[in-house]
Symmetry: C2
Subunit: 597 residues, 2 copies
């Protein structure tokens, strides 16, 4: 977005004041990762986002990608920005030094991805997909595969993709048909067509490394017969150099609602040479290692869009004059800046509560990933993994669902001007609309949360997180207002458990009860989770004010937003609670022919 | 939308079974307007919508309008469709026979506008704007003006616009600057620039008649110094023939999020000859006569989008297979149609509840307009006017706000395919996004409802509508379930009054309390209002089933949707109730510099 400013101050607040990343990094052995280093990296990332990526965001939307005879041309400036990205060393940040990486924490590399996405969602998808490809090879690839593919991927000279979806199978990967036939040399011949492949073809790099789900000839049906393969666009020699073209072509690109600068490709594999990653028929397991972490990245995209919408709307609300305020000005002007009007403030505060609450949740998740990847103590790792398991579907779905509202308010605050392309607000709404769909829809995330995480663990995963909240509340001290919020939050932790018990009971006799409650359950969880972070943020802000901080506006803004959150957003959870307890009957009793005359 | 089918059966249900339009038309003296005639007109309108307008909806979006040297070219097929529309006699339906109209009821002409908008929102705006222009001249024009402009407008040979907005004034018309200088011949020289003028320039008609708000030289500041003028693109002789070009030019058109086939114009008036309508400085009053009725039309657009989204999503949900249902099929298929899944049904039922609940509210409003325009009894007219005053902001804002959710679910049910342009779901969402902005934003409607209607009448207008609901409830009979809904609804009528009293009290000492509560108040009102219509529809459906109707699926679908509505949508009102009672402090206490670091 033009005029986008990477929210460095708030990132610093969340990382260093709320979650004490200094101690966190120290404990994990990142002795060199000082607060100054992090700040310097954030500053450089912000410059790149604000000065290079933001200015090409609108032109990227207008021009989009073009396909011709299998080649994709990206919008003006996209390729050059990618070159600068590579020159800046950004692709390699969190990867192992053995393959040319910088060995920095995951949280550091991922937190700056917010800036890139906020400035230019479509552009940021290219490097984002590469990270997924790299992670998969790092985690599940053989040493030969790592040596062959990782250095150029990590350097950014090549890019990567994740090829899951086929025309007839999206959420339900068990249906996939793409085939892998063993070759005599131990490689495989991959054949089939994948759709919706982001960054599947483009003009950024010398090679594109596809991670592809396919079936071996004798594989069992369903999800237990899917294997994972590395399939490069150009074949690669043992020492990692590009050789001849592989049987991989881009058949077309999609015309979409948004993220027009991101090429969404149909990729045809025609006896393309591929290399098995991990064990045969265990492809989905390998994929989901990556997917779970990638979902934090998608949540981050939603949060970044909420932030960008807030920035744009706030600028307009302080500039546009329309109607007098009865209380906020002296009445001398014919009309006042619209930020004086209560309903405009309601929308701005909603954007702020979602953007900054989302940032807290996302950073908390990133912190758990760091622990999972680097802690020495297996128990600490286990705890981080448990928290992540619960929070991942929430961070993915809740941050992207709330982004729909935040970006819609971006339009609404601009009035009719919000609907006009030049201001950028409508692009934000179109771009972020994808985020509740890809990487698992909100419905899929909700089944994951309620079914696979909460109920399958017999409430244990939920219990761990609720214990964290109640432990915080028990130690909580603050003024009367904040103590009231604390009591409210404690009440919600009890309701959360009670609602969970109720759904568990219903679902025990009728499996449709799970799907009937799931999305409301996820949204309920999101609202209560945000209440926890907003209470923590209010406390941290109060402490800073008490200590005489010179940034009183910043901290007081946190406290006021927490107040708004508890007053006006958290009560929405009760509508979701009603949905959770309503039961499946009012969804399932209507006959399929009764929906329309 | 392609494959759009005008919902004739439901329109008939609402008009003839729910609201007894037969008796209604008879009472107002429309002896010739038989149920058969209405059905025949709806059938012809549906053919035009489904076969002519729907097929050019997508191409209209893709091509958009183009501007060149002051001229606007509409997308392929738009002009030809308009010619067919004129040949079909559609523009003249509800207008007086004295000016070439057909003298049919407003409700008949307006109800078919749903079909046009559902099939092609962008195209439907051109005739929609003409209707606004015609109504204004009919209500406030002199006989000379009527004779000069109306026949060709009513015939459709000319089109019309409404020119309100200027770059610096949207919601706040008091700021407008456009000037009107008296000429010696009694006409005025109009100068200034208007923006966001829908249908301001196009290639459909020989002439365009602009209705323009402007200020006389000695006019008071603010809204009490605005006058209304007729300003044709080509001057018109006394006998209504086009002569020379007037000083009216189209400076450019906007690039927008949607309704790309609708030209949104900058119109420059350069000493253009204009004719005063109504009294000097009373322009806003004249304009609002029309605006109030036009707002029903905008609500209709939202409802039509919800209907179209339901149709598209339902088609896909019955066709797309993905995952097995644990309860709805025999388990023999690898995957089942997604309509078996509870969460898909939740989304479909939400769309259905919004589309059909909205249709009921819209028809109820249209019925009141008929009474207002044609009843002989002044008391009946007064009652209709009172109901309309209250319901107009609700029909406008609630039907367009719910359309945002319904069209978003259209995308969501299609998964990633919903984001791709070819399926049409994302276009619906983009097109309908305008509807919460134009004709008064949701914020403006909410202030109108709470401030100007409910509180300014000391609750009288609300009391009239609540009396209608309680009177219905008192006489209500049904099965145990429906009696429970009746009790729920009665409880809400009490809460509605209690919430109103609370806001009134708060606002008496602090005017910001009005704006702080207003949007939540409107949404609350919308949810409760829909509960009333859903209870009525369930009752009518039950009666038809009891009488042995052969359309059991249709009627049972109504009852099931009512059940869903009471179970899962109506509880959202409680989150809005919390917003209403939260007070202004949590919006107003945050300093303007506290929103961002």
């Amino acid at each position: 977005m033009e005029n986008y400013q990477s929210p460095q101050r708030d990132a610093q607040f969340v990382a260093y004041e709320l979650f004490d990343f200094q101690t966190h990094y120290d404990k994990l052995g990142f002795a060199d990762v000082s607060a100054d280093l992090v700040k310097a990296i954030h500053t450089e990332a912000a410059k790149f986002a604000d000065n290079i990526l933001a200015p090409i965001n609108q032109v990227g939307d207008q021009q989009g990608c073009t396909w011709s005879d299998g080649s994709v041309t990206t919008p003006k400036g996209f390729k050059e920005a990618y070159q600068q990205y590579v020159q800046g060393g950004w692709p390699s940040m969190s990867h192992p030094e053995a393959f040319g990486g910088q060995g920095l924490p995951y949280s550091l590399a991922t937190s700056i991805a917010e800036y890139f996405s906020g400035a230019n969602h479509a552009w940021a998808m290219y490097p984002g997909l590469s990270q997924g490809c790299i992670s998969t090879i790092l985690t599940h690839g053989s040493d030969t595969q790592k040596n062959r593919f990782l250095p150029k991927l990590i350097e950014g000279q090549w890019s990567g993709t994740m090829c899951l979806t086929e025309a007839h199978c999206g959420s339900d990967l068990g249906l996939l048909r793409c085939k892998a036939q063993p070759n005599e040399d131990g490689s495989y011949a991959i054949s089939g067509t994948k759709i919706f492949i982001s960054a599947g073809e483009h003009d950024f790099t010398d090679n594109i490394v596809h991670i592809v789900l396919a079936r071996l000839p004798d594989a069992p049906a369903g999800t237990k017969g899917i294997s994972l393969f590395i399939v490069p666009k150009f074949n690669v020699s043992e020492d990692g150099e590009v050789t001849d073209r592989n049987g991989v072509t881009c058949g077309s690109i999609e015309h979409k609602m948004g993220i027009n600068g991101s090429a969404t490709c149909v990729i045809n594999f025609d006896n393309a040479t591929g290399y098995l990653i991990g064990a045969e028929n265990r492809g989905l397991n390998c994929m989901f290692t990556f997917m779970n972490i990638a979902r934090i990245g998608t949540g981050l995209e939603g949060m970044a869009a909420s932030e960008a919408a807030l920035q744009g709307a706030l600028r307009y609300a302080k500039d546009r004059v329309q109607f007098r305020s009865p209380t906020q000005r002296d009445g001398s002007a014919a009309a006042d800046e619209i930020i004086v009007h209560p309903d405009v403030r309601r929308m701005l505060l909603t954007q702020k509560a979602f953007a900054e609450g989302g940032r807290a949740l996302a950073y908390h998740c990133m912190q758990q990933v760091d622990v999972l990847q680097h802690a020495k103590d297996p128990q600490e790792q286990q705890l981080a993994e448990s928290k992540l398991a619960l929070l991942t579907p929430i961070v993915k779905a809740f941050l992207t669902e709330t982004a729909q509202e935040a970006t819609s308010y971006g339009i609404q605050i601009y009035g009719g001007h919000g609907y006009v392309s030049e201001w950028g607000m409508e692009q934000l709404a179109r771009d972020t609309r994808i985020s509740t769909l890809y990487e698992g829809t909100t419905g899929i995330q909700s089944l994951d949360l309620l079914g696979r995480k909460v109920l399958a663990s017999n409430g244990e995963l939920l219990g761990i997180f609720l214990a964290e909240i109640t432990s915080f509340c028990d130690k909580f001290d603050g003024d009367e207002l904040q103590l009231r919020w604390r009591d409210t939050l404690l009440g919600y932790t009890q309701q959360w458990q009670q609602l969970t018990g109720q759904v568990a009971k219903q679902a025990a006799t009728n499996p449709d009860e799970l799907g009937a409650a799931s999305v409301d359950y996820l949204m309920y969880s999101g609202y209560v989770t945000f209440a926890y972070y907003w209470l923590r943020m209010a406390q941290t802000a109060s402490q800073n004010i008490a200590q005489g901080s010179t940034e009183k506006d910043f901290y007081q803004g946190k406290i006021e937003t927490a107040r708004f959150y508890f007053d006006r957003l958290l009560p929405r959870s009760q509508a979701h609670a009603a949905g959770i307890t309503a039961g499946a009957a009012s969804l399932m009793s209507i006959g399929e022919d009764m929906f329309k005359a």
